[in-house]
Symmetry: C2
Subunit: 223 residues, 2 copies
């Protein structure tokens, strides 16, 4: 590596270290780019050269910690547990993690989850990776016979994530909501998705509607 390249990576690290410190200490909205630049001993413009904007800096500064947390949670999944408990194991780890600095992760997720496709390469890749992972979990259960074979595992994984994400939003928005209450909420929600809420009386109807919009509904798209 060049001398130029090495010093470049050094200042990059200086900025990242300063950013992590100040983001966590003062919160991402209270801490300015100038603060970070000063703490890192570089010019504000330099921060923008290395990380194209504040949100990108926030993402890069935090995604490794998040990654580490998910990995550890996945590594400690109780293998013999039910699908429900395995999902909740991950959720518990993540909610507790975010609970350590709700304001920080509220801003990160806000600026990240609604950014147009293509920004947030790091977090997007993580999400995609773990959706795959959950999808595989479900596929395995299909083979084991505990999940119905006609289930679209990809959509099931996305759905479970949506339920997780919905409760996470509440957690990050409402200071009074505890992690425990959030998890109880999510637990019920996941159980509903795994077992359904409708009665089985209709018999064959279950699964018939799945994967196809009703005729009545198709009308909307014929124009």
């Amino acid at each position: 590596m060049n001398r130029r390249e090495t010093t470049k990576q050094e200042t990059r690290q200086l900025i990242l270290t300063a950013a992590r410190k100040l983001f966590e200490k003062k919160g991402p909205e209270q801490c300015t780019m100038r603060d970070i630049a000063t703490e890192a001993g570089v010019s504000p413009a330099s921060v923008v050269v290395h990380f194209s904007n504040k949100t990108a800096l926030l993402e890069v500064a935090l995604y490794e910690d998040i990654q580490r947390n998910i990995s550890q949670a996945v590594a400690t999944i109780p293998q013999e547990a039910s699908l429900h408990n395995r999902f909740l194991h991950i959720a518990q780890a993540m909610y507790s993690f975010y609970d350590g600095n709700r304001e920080l992760y509220r801003v990160l997720i806000r600026d990240t989850a609604f950014a147009p496709e293509g920004s947030n390469p790091h977090l997007s890749r993580q999400l995609e990776h773990y959706l795959h992972f959950f999808s595989n979990l479900i596929e395995v259960e299909k083979e084991r016979g505990t999940v119905r074979p006609d289930t679209d595992a990809g959509i099931a994984a996305s759905s479970l994530f949506s339920l997780y994400f919905g409760v996470l939003m509440e957690l990050l928005r409402k200071p009074d909501l505890t992690v425990k209450v959030a998890l109880e909420w999510l637990s019920t929600s996941i159980n509903q998705h795994l077992n359904g809420i409708q009665t089985y009386e209709q018999g064959g109807k279950v699964g018939a509607e799945e994967n196809a919009l009703s005729d009545w509904f198709e009308e909307f798209f014929i124009y």
Copy 2:
């Protein structure tokens, strides 16, 4: 009403009209407070006096249109249709509505959905109202016997909303995703939630786990 009060309401309307026009035309991020102030014929400071910040202005400028759209969708729910199709009817109306200006509503929902509790009074109230409405729909189905009596209708309504919201996020983030594909996705997702994805072999197990974290899981909270 005072003369002071009337002129105040007049300028408020001037600002709102200007804001609606420019937000829709140039997009909420491209159009500046100064633009809106100029269009309305007032000073930028005046805009902030009437609407405490840009996001609040965006919310007030748009919530009535949204409200109108939901109301109309709810009013045209096919009464005899299944729970699934009734939900999808609403979703279809809302997705199509947002599809008319994705950028606009992407920014609105981003700045609104993740704001701390208390901001966004208008949209929060709407959401709460319709969650109640859906909750009631489910309660009625419980009485009819198509939904299991042990179902927590409030959580079911929230869950269905989370599924709706998850797909909406994708729609607003990804320009290439069509409303039709989004609705097909949501349709499958909702079907999963209504009917479950697990097999029924476990029999009594269904519902046993519901509303209670497993013993294994309780351990986390004993410290």
